[in-house]
């Protein structure tokens, strides 16, 4: 038995696919659990959230 420290991300499947692509560039996923859950390294959480935000932002259209 072993215990691995990490952060459990709960997300929708679209976000998960983006996370998987991001992981190929720079690895941060510890364990891919299922369609809605992944465990990532705790100290990478801030960076991952920021990059994910930037990625999602590309998909929105703004009037301004």
């Amino acid at each position: 038995m072993k215990a691995i420290r990490g952060v459990l991300l709960t997300c929708d499947s679209a976000v998960k696919q983006i996370l998987l692509t991001m992981n190929e560039k720079q690895s941060f996923i510890i364990e891919d659990l299922d369609d809605f859950h992944v465990v990532i390294k705790a100290d990478e959480e801030y960076r991952v959230r920021r990059e994910l935000e930037a990625e999602l932002e590309k998909n929105t259209y703004s009037l301004e």
Binding site: G6, C11, L33
Partner: protein, 479 residues
């Protein structure tokens, strides 16, 4: 295992109303009183004015129960009273009894019901008058040299004080430097965590502060006063005296001068704080009399605590000033800097006219509000409370598209949820896995599990316990 699902409230339904007569929730002060000791409350009930004010804050059913029992000399058998209640009324009835018991107004008893004798005699006195306790405040002698201030001056004063506080909050950290409220107010804002000290000594509004700004004035006022009550004990002030003074103020009459003669030392000290909040006005700091403002006299009533806002004075602000269209455009008929600053929290303002501000609710503006800690529901309820009378013809009041979109923007922000913890894997056997998992479930720390992969994710709080559990078990196994 269910994935994250998207749930949107039906837009037509107004979100939880937070007005004073809200049927489903008690007043904030009532909740606070319930946490006080019987001794404190009984001392408080010695004042007729306190009893009357608390009575006014109770919910309708609770008020009816009190009124029914008030004039009875003998206790009523519980069975007799229960016979008044219809079957549907059972739950509200028991809720009301429980609230009154926690307030020690109607001590809990399975056999018979009778009001707390102190409360009963004070409440009777409040209704019938009589007694010379001066519990409702003592009017000061007429003085031709200094007539009491007129109501307009009092309103202007209260409004100026109150808006100074709110405007200071809303413009902190924007580079503007509006008038600072007094040191006491700043301390109170900091203690209530509405503002926090960031780098050095500049106060900055917190996310709780942003939410505070969108509340109706009555609630804002009580939020600060409850904080004040909590501080009172630290300052060695007698809670009962502080409370009974506030409740007395709520029964005073607007536009009258009251004498300080029979106030206790604590209450005299309070005058200075209350002056800063705009609850009372004194001609000079050393004056021997004070006049309550509308903020004080409406503390326990349902009439609005603030008169019409400054500026145009056309009275429309009292009912609302915001027109919101289906194309996300927003027109606000106001020239009040506070209201404009509050709108600026979640609206992109485009143009400004002498009595009108035009803006647009955009994804960016709502996102900014969300990162400040304001929720979509708060934005929507602010828009509903301040909607222009013209908007009230619409049903539902706000365009459904806009409401839904604001909620969707909020969901978009929460697409990823993160929880720290430990992933437990590589169990030797299925039995081993289930044994540890069961233990973790008893602790209620399991966030995710998968039996076929024999692993589960537990929150960080449970880790020490689970580790101890496994160590104890393997030690026992080896022995």
């Amino acid at each position: 295992m269910a994935g994250p699902s998207i749930r949107i409230k039906p837009a037509g339904e107004p979100s939880k109303s937070t007005n004073i007569s809200g049927e489903d929730s008690s007043h904030r002060l009532v909740a606070f009183l319930q946490s006080q000791s019987q001794n404190t409350l009984t001392r408080l009930y010695q004042k007729p004015s306190s009893c009357l004010s608390i009575f006014r804050l109770l919910r309708p059913l609770e008020r009816q129960l009190v009124m029914n029992l008030l004039w009875l000399e003998m206790p009523v058998p519980a069975s007799t009273m229960a016979a008044w209640v219809t079957r549907e009324g059972k739950r509200p009835y028991h809720d009301a009894l429980a609230t009154l018991a926690r307030l020690h107004i109607l001590p809990q008893s399975p056999v018979k019901h009778a009001l707390n004798p102190t409360f009963k005699s004070s409440m009777r006195q409040a209704i019938t008058g009589g007694g010379s306790s001066g519990s409702f405040g003592v009017l000061s002698e007429n003085d031709d040299k200094h007539p009491p201030p007129d109501i307009e001056a009092l309103d202007a004063y209260a409004l100026e004080r109150w808006e100074t506080i709110l405007y200071y909050m809303v413009s902190s950290g924007t580079g503007q430097f509006p008038a600072r409220p007094s040191q006491g107010v700043l301390y109170l804002l900091q203690r209530s965590r509405l503002m926090a000290n960031v780098h050095g000594n500049t106060l900055q509004i917190t996310s709780a502060g942003f939410q505070f700004l969108l509340h109706p004035p009555h609630e804002q006022l009580w939020e600060l006063l409850l904080q004040y009550l909590q501080m009172a004990e630290e300052r060695q002030m007698d809670l009962v005296e502080v409370l009974s003074f506030l409740l007395m103020l709520s029964t005073t009459e607007l536009g009258k001068d009251y004498s300080m003669e029979n106030l206790s030392a604590t209450q005299k000290a309070m005058l200075e704080d209350l002056r800063d909040y705009g609850l009372i006005k004194q001609r000079t700091a050393t004056s021997r009399r004070f006049s309550p403002t509308r903020l004080a006299t409406t503390l326990t009533s349902s009439s609005p605590p603030l008169p019409t806002s400054t500026g145009t004075g056309n009275g429309s602000q009292a009912q609302g000033f915001i027109v919101l269209e289906t194309n996300y455009r927003l027109y606000a008929y106001t020239d009040n800097p506070l209201q404009i600053a509050v709108l600026n929290l979640f609206v992109t303002l485009k143009s400004r006219f002498p009595n009108l501000v035009v803006g647009q609710i955009t994804r960016e503006s709502v996102k900014k509000a969300l990162t400040n800690g304001i929720t979509a529901d708060q934005v929507i309820s602010y828009l509903i409370t301040h909607a222009h009378p013209q908007m009230r013809k619409n049903k539902p009041l706000l365009p459904v598209t806009v409401q839904d979109q604001i909620r969707l923007w909020e969901l978009e922000k929460n697409r990823v949820k993160s929880q720290e913890g430990y992933l437990y894997t590589a169990f030797a056997s299925q039995a081993d896995y289930e044994y540890v998992l069961n233990y973790a479930k008893q602790l209620d720390v399991v966030l995710w599990e998968n039996a076929s992969r024999r692993c589960f994710f537990g929150s960080v709080e449970g880790h020490a316990n689970i580790r101890g559990f496994i160590e104890r078990r393997s030690a026992a196994g080896n022995a």
